[in-house]
């Protein structure tokens, strides 16, 4: 088949080990950061580190770079659908105008 099949075969062991160590380091950092009072940024920082770890797993362990193009497309399409569903559902809940209780026209005290 194409040459990239052969390239998939050999990926250096030290690269895998370094990636593994990096992942554990990132996890430790995220754990440590969770004790710091970051307030609103806490979730953003944690998710950013998680995204970084995810990229390492995808790129080094799953060799996303050297996978056939159609497989890359499938993965990206799935991620796009996840993001689409998540954003539109959260937007719905966020942008829902709360139904105010109109001031009860008290019969006695209305100005």
């Amino acid at each position: 088949m194409s040459s990239n099949e052969r390239a998939l075969q050999q990926s250096s062991i030290s690269r895998v080990l370094r990636a593994g160590a990096g992942l554990l380091a990132l996890a430790a950092a995220s754990y440590a950061l969770s004790f710091v009072r970051l307030g609103a940024f806490a979730l953003a920082v944690a998710l950013a580190i998680a995204a970084l770890k995810a990229l390492v797993v995808l790129w080094v362990f799953m060799q996303f770079g050297r996978v056939p193009a159609s497989a890359k497309l499938a993965a990206l399409a799935a991620f796009f659908m996840l993001a689409l569903m998540l954003s539109l559902m959260a937007a719905d809940v966020a942008s829902r105008e709360a139904a105010p209780v109109p001031p009860a026209a008290a019969a006695t005290r209305s100005p």
Partner: protein
Amino acid sequence: MNSVRHAAQFQSLAQQDHATRLGMWVFLGSELLLFAGLFALYAAGRVAHPAAFHEGVAHAEKSIGSLNTAVLLTSSTTVALAVESLRRERRAAAVTLLSITIALGAAFFCLKLAEYGAHFRAGIYPGGAGSFFVSHGTPGLPLFWTLYFVTTGLHAVHVCVGLGVLGLSAQAIARGKMGGERAYVLENAALYWHLVDLIWIFLWPLYYLA
């Protein structure tokens, strides 16, 4: 080791390798979307009840969760190493590394059960049942915990499936049925394990850290 013949419908082993790899990635896409609904419910729930989700995270078993993260990340590394050693025809190393991965996966599962036990003792049950919710009345708190149980439960099921698949691969290598040419069977099993790890990478911050 006899040269492995490709299945009838394929013209060459490379085409079979390409097909199974593509099939696996498309299947991983559908697995990701199975969890997408739960992440979407978390996002919508967090927007609707920010206070409840903060309180929920505060009561999570952060230590067990973080230990589980370390366990799963290490198992991801060992399964990747197993794939590399099988590619270099070092079967014994591959089998040992796979056994370590399976052991770590089992450890993750046991830790998860222990964590559930801790929650039950604390009176946290799915559906907002349990004494915990009597004293903690924040609206939306039962939603957080039910979502936690459903998401981590479904993830635990996928961990078990992953363990099964890795076990079968290890057995096949040990019995010599899977060599360098047909390494893609182990690679696909490893891909599934990496997906399970990827999902946990995002579960951990959402339910334990922030």
